[in-house]
């Protein structure tokens, strides 16, 4: 059974004993023991998965790491957060997903206009099943709880991932100031309603909305 362990805040150590994990392509920094790296063609979800990813552009380059020993993963010195899933679904941007346990299934969902405003395209990656996933954030991420009474509004550029039963909706605050180039830089926000958790990073990606 693969075990995920954080080595500091920016390095993920995965103990393998003959099994395999899925990880972002090229994210290995060191290992001991015996490991083989194989780029996954079609993501292991069959032909349908391959076609979907091709069309949606949510083409996360994934490799399968298999072997015995300890493998260390890190990516551009970003902070790593471990998320334990027990049957629920994790929505995460493909670029923020570092590694998943083999028992987890990954897929793609349509996000609509929100995705476009985040600069991530119209689709997002979902991780489903029971096990651990490692997600990356630029700076230490905070986890914010959303309840039915307290909806949460997040900057699209700072959004990393979410779990639970959440409805999301893009809201705009575009006024005449934005049109003359005097916007506050907060013209687009994502509103989360329902029950769940949202991961937010202390940094903002360059997004279309962020410029306005």
């Amino acid at each position: 059974m693969a075990t995920f362990r954080l080595h500091g805040t920016r390095v993920l150590a995965v103990e393998l004993s003959g099994d395999a994990v899925k990880a972002k392509n090229g994210a290995m920094v060191a290992y001991d023991g015996e490991m083989t790296f194989k780029k996954m063609t079609g993501g292991g979800e069959g032909l349908r998965g391959l076609v979907t990813r091709r069309i949606t552009g949510e083409a996360m380059a994934v490799m399968e790491v298999k072997g015995r020993g300890t493998c260390y993963f890190a990516d551009r010195a970003t902070e790593i957060n471990l998320v334990r899933l027990t049957g629920e679904k994790l929505y995460v941007e493909a670029s923020n997903l570092l590694a998943t346990e083999p028992a987890l299934r990954t897929g793609t969902t349509f996000t609509g206009l929100r995705g476009a405003s985040q600069g991530n395209g119209l689709f997002t990656t979902t991780v489903e099943g029971t096990g651990q996933a490692a997600i990356m954030s630029d700076g230490p991420a905070i986890v914010l709880r959303v309840t039915a009474q307290t909806p949460l509004i997040v900057d699209p550029g700072a959004y990393v991932a979410h779990t639970g039963n959440l409805r999301q909706q893009l809201q705009t605050a575009v006024g005449w100031r934005t049109l003359i180039g005097e916007g506050s830089g907060e013209s687009f926000q994502i509103r989360f309603e329902g029950e769940g958790l949202v991961y937010v990073q202390p940094s903002e990606r360059t997004t279309v909305g962020g410029q306005l």
Partner: protein, 216 residues
Amino acid sequence: MPFTRINSKMVEAPVTPGQRMFSQRGAMLAYRGRVTFTPSITGGQGGVMSMIGRRVANEATPLMVVEGEGSVMFGHGGHHIHTVDLAGETLYVEADRLLAFDGSLRQGTMFMGSQGGVMGVLRGQVTGQGLFTTTLQGKGSVAVMAHGGVFELPVTPARPVHVDPQAYVAHRGELRNKLVTAIGWREMVGRGSGEAFQLELSGQGTVYVQASEERL
């Protein structure tokens, strides 16, 4: 003269009369007391011959000599700093990763191509590190820069470690390093896993790895 960590990106070192220190030029952030910074024309220790050696080997990072009485704070480019204390062994590190080191350490240049023949030469090309590396030997402290923090991995004869060449920072001890390739038909058709080249370190020692695959 050990370095004191101020935070992950800044170190402080005491300077006492008669004890020189070398640091990368421009890496001083602040100092207390009377300290002078002299550009080192020979780029370190060992006179003109070793200067020429370093120039030829392209390991000549501009250094300065830090002398006087007080304490100096070092940092550079917002990179994470890792300090290594040496007690007689040798540290192998790229010259441009060196932030500061004690004058008591002997500086040298080593031809890496001598380890492993053709693969040794290729190793330098693949990692972008060139054919030469800087060695520091003796008793003292070294401050090394890395992108995104450093972690240490022990290497024992029974437990060799493989490192991504871009994430390799430095190593110490009696280690042999060898470039291993895992190139198959997948790489040829452009479907590589991004891990085609790895450095295999075997022997007895410690390897320093950074949490990023970006060069400085």
